[in-house]
């Protein structure tokens, strides 16, 4: 039963982390290029635009859920299981989220890069 709860925690962490990243990316895309925005309208406008985005705060909420779910997972299982599983699966979930919700053109180059980074993170966190 403990294994079931551990994997449930890992999947909640992965889902919440990917949802957080996708929502923050969506919010920033809607707000527009911050570098350009600051040059044209000033720093205060950038701050107001960012702080008035409900989608951004939704993303930050999911990031917080991922953080605490990861903490709970770590209290039940070893870091050597929770760390690599969460980190590697989050990279793949983010790529899927970006493709289907943000409609990014995830071509072979980006899939290859995602998989290479995913394997690298797996090796870093397992040892």
């Amino acid at each position: 039963m403990k294994t079931f709860y551990t994997w449930l925690c890992i999947f909640i962490t992965v889902f919440a982390a990917a949802a957080g990243d996708v929502l923050v990316a969506l919010a920033m895309r809607r707000i527009g290029d911050l570098v350009d925005l600051r040059r044209r309208h000033g720093f205060l406008t950038v701050v107001l635009r960012v702080l008035s985005s409900a989608v951004l705060f939704g993303g930050i909420f999911f990031m917080a859920v991922a953080f605490f779910s990861n903490l709970v997972g770590l209290s039940w299982a070893d870091l050597s299981l929770v760390g690599p599983a969460s980190a590697a699966l989050t990279f793949v979930a983010n790529a899927l989220g970006a493709k289907f919700f943000l409609h990014e053109n995830v071509d072979r180059r980006r899939w290859l890069a995602t998989m290479l980074v995913c394997c690298g993170v797996l090796l870093l966190t397992r040892s």
């Binding site: 809607r30 980074v117 090796l123 870093l124």
Partner: protein
């Protein structure tokens, strides 16, 4: 991608990894935090290394949001994964940790992955225009690099 935008990506990497290293350094002086001793989290918040780490991570979040405003998520995430390599270097030279050969192989995978994604475009064209949303004034999708170069 202009030089300024590469600097934003670099700041995501540096602020994230340095912030994590400060947190790791600070947490060495704090008792273990588990489900029965959650109060230790507040003790950790009084540690100067943890406080500096939190400020670095706030700067990381600001840079990360700026990067996502001009580049795709599937570009930013692999590109900023080089922060894992910076963290390994910080753990060797600052925290004096041992790094196994398996980790160096992992570092090599990440470096190759970052090289692969960095060679492509930062923003793909297949995305909804900002003018379909309520948070920006109506208008055409800005050509990010064109604005930068034309300024």
């Amino acid at each position: 991608m202009t030089l300024r935008k590469y600097l934003v990506i670099l700041s995501v990497v540096l602020f994230g990894s340095v912030g994590d290293a400060f947190l790791a350094r600070g947490m060495r002086h704090v008792a273990a935090i588990d489900i029965h001793h959650l109060g230790n989290v507040f003790v950790a918040l009084a540690n100067p290394f943890v406080i500096v780490g939190i400020f670095f991570l706030l700067a990381f979040m600001a840079s990360y949001m700026t990067a996502l405003s001009f580049a795709d998520l599937t570009y930013v995430l692999p590109a900023t994964a080089i922060s894992y390599v910076v963290m390994i270097l910080l753990s060797i030279f600052w925290l004096h940790e041992h790094v196994s050969p398996q980790r160096w192989v992992g570092v090599a995978f990440i470096v190759i992955g970052v090289g692969v994604v960095a060679g492509g475009p930062s923003r793909t064209e297949d995305y909804p225009a900002p003018d379909s949303c309520s948070e920006v004034p109506p208008g055409p999708v800005p050509e990010y690099d064109a604005i930068e170069e034309g300024a």
